[in-house]
């Protein structure tokens, strides 16, 4: 059975490749910083399960210090110039889309067709991780196709991957850092404390006020925690079930469903949801770190109003 460990091995080897090519890149004055940063991520993927909790903690501190002290530069891998790319794009034409389409096609194939397959009672892949395993498979198929069909150099996946990784820089790790922070916050009881404040001090005595407190609370709490999944149990257990469902007799399916979607309005507005909001500006080379959040705020605020009204209208028919 193919498990998540296979995907981690692949990621570990990829980051090891980034580290090795980084250190050979004399155009980057901070090449040793880049080598250390990608090398430590590689170590985490390859050996994280053997490092122990404190060992992993030390890796995390080292990564944060490398980033915080500005030790990461931007490598200059040999790549094609804009004019060459224009010429190549005209030569290859729509062939260029074939390897790109392997991502959606193979992921869909893996999740819809290969996931339930069993051989002699053993599943082909861990069903809980089918999406990530299929994504890794899709990348391998797409790369093979790109190297053969488009005759790209053998080192180009690692060199071009390193080019993009250096473009994103430390922002790449922020989502994983924030996920880990969520765990520490849970250990310290931060969520329970905020939930207690919300339920103690906010007005929930009329039906509309209670709906508004729940919806706006889900959005606000999600902004603070960076994740609607962290906000949902606290506010649903504290406000939605005792007040909206039990006291006012609302439909729990409507309330939970739209409550979660109100939380997603918060996700669109917080820098703590880094993979959605802070990684894209880095990937797209936009100088303003918060440009994507700013583009999302109007939609998110309108949707929060819509969700509040929808819950009020649909849950109490």
């Amino acid at each position: 059975m193919i498990k998540l460990g296979f995907v981690y091995l692949l990621a570990g080897l990829m980051f090891a490749g980034f580290a090795l090519f980084s250190v050979g890149d004399r155009a980057n004055p901070k090449r040793f910083g880049n080598m250390a940063f990608w090398g430590l991520i590689s170590l985490s993927f390859l050996a994280g399960d053997w490092l122990g909790d404190l060992g992993n903690g030390v890796v995390v501190l080292a990564l944060a210090l490398l980033a915080g002290l500005g030790q990461l530069g931007r490598g200059q891998p040999a790549t094609t110039a804009p004019q060459e790319r224009q010429a190549l794009s005209e030569r290859f034409g729509n062939q260029l889309f074939a390897p790109a389409m392997m991502l959606p096609v193979v992921v869909a194939l893996g999740v819809l067709v290969l996931k339930p397959l069993q051989f002699g009672g053993v599943a082909l892949m861990d069903p809980k991780q089918a999406t990530l395993i299929s994504l890794a498979g899709a990348v391998i198929v797409g790369l093979a196709m790109a190297l053969i069909l488009l005759r790209q150099p053998l080192a180009s996946p690692l060199q071009e991957g390193r080019r993009l990784a250096d473009t994103v820089g430390w922002a790449m790790l922020l989502p994983q850092f924030l996920a880990a922070l969520g765990a520490v916050f849970a250990l310290a009881g931060v969520g329970a404390q905020i939930g207690h404040l919300v339920t103690t001090y906010l007005p929930v005595d009329t039906r509309f006020a209670a709906v508004a407190v729940y919806c706006v609370g889900m959005a606000g709490f999600t902004m603070l925690m960076g994740n609607a999944f962290a906000a949902f149990p606290v506010l649903t257990g504290g406000v939605a079930i005792p007040i909206l469902v039990v006291h006012f007799g609302g439909n729990p399916a409507v309330i939970a469903s739209i409550g979660m979607l109100s939380g997603f309005c918060g996700t669109l507005m917080t820098p703590l949801a880094a993979n959605f909001n802070l990684v894209p500006p880095a990937l797209l080379e936009i100088p303003d770190r918060y440009a994507v959040i700013k583009a999302q705020i109007p939609t998110a605020l309108f949707m929060l109003i819509v969700n509040t009204v929808l819950m009020y209208v649909l849950a109490f028919r």
């Binding site: 060992g55 501190l61 210090l65 790790l173 880990a180 922070l181």
Partner: protein, 222 residues
């Protein structure tokens, strides 16, 4: 109460634009300290959680493929196709992408597209090319605004349609939590009530994209 200072550290640190990785570590140490944990205990807890959450960073496996295709001219090709369709504006193109992304997410195919695998190599260059043909040569600010709107459209589309699919993680989390609270529901009921929001999101964000087109046409961003 003092454990909430960790949240304050995050808010202040992000607002002052300190390096976010350091801010996150500082926030963990602060909340952990006031919860009675020693710094070593916090570092170990953070390390364990970091290791348990490695799957979060797996999406970067697509970078080598995206990079190789960029090297071979994918972005240029995608832009040329959009430029050949003369009538398509950036906003209208993004409305089309949003519809496609909402429909595929609603049937569970969230991972077939995303910021690294589609927005960077395809959607952002295509939106930029559409704006260039439609509205003339863009200033850097216009380019950045179009790119940000492309990324935002992907997020909005996914967030407000993925819950229409019954086996989505957030739907299963809701079912699990409600069950533990004594409310037993079939996931399909939660999914059905996600549909009105999905439709509203399409209407609202599309309207914003049409207004965005007008701003681009008037050249407000330059």
């Amino acid at each position: 109460m003092l454990i909430l200072l960790g949240v304050a550290v995050i808010v202040v640190g992000f607002a002052l634009r300190f390096n976010p990785l350091l801010v996150v570590v500082a926030a963990a140490l602060t909340s952990g300290w006031f919860a009675g944990l020693s710094p070593l205990q916090v570092v170990a807890a953070f390390g364990k959680a970091f290791n348990d959450n490695r799957y979060v960073s797996i999406a970067y496996l697509v970078l080598p493929l995206v990079g190789v295709l960029e090297r071979a001219g994918l972005r240029e090709r995608a832009a040329a196709i959009i430029a050949s369709l003369r009538g398509v504006s950036a906003g209208r193109f993004l409305i089309g992408y949003m519809a496609l992304r909402q429909v595929t997410s609603a049937v569970g195919l969230v991972s077939i597209a995303g910021q690294a695998q589609t927005v960077r190599p395809l959607i952002a260059p295509m939106a930029e090319a559409a704006s260039e043909v439609h509205d003339g040569p863009p200033s850097p600010e216009t380019r950045y605004a179009v790119r940000a709107m492309a990324a935002a459209t992907d997020n909005v589309a996914v967030f407000f349609s993925e819950d229409v699919f019954v086996a989505m993680g957030s739907v299963l989390l809701m079912v699990g939590f409600l069950t533990s609270g004594g409310i037993v529901l079939d996931p399909i009921h939660l999914s059905v009530w996600a549909i009105p929001t999905a439709l509203a999101a399409f209407a609202i964000h599309s309207a914003r994209l049409l207004l965005f087109d007008r701003r681009l046409a008037r050249g407000v961003e330059r």
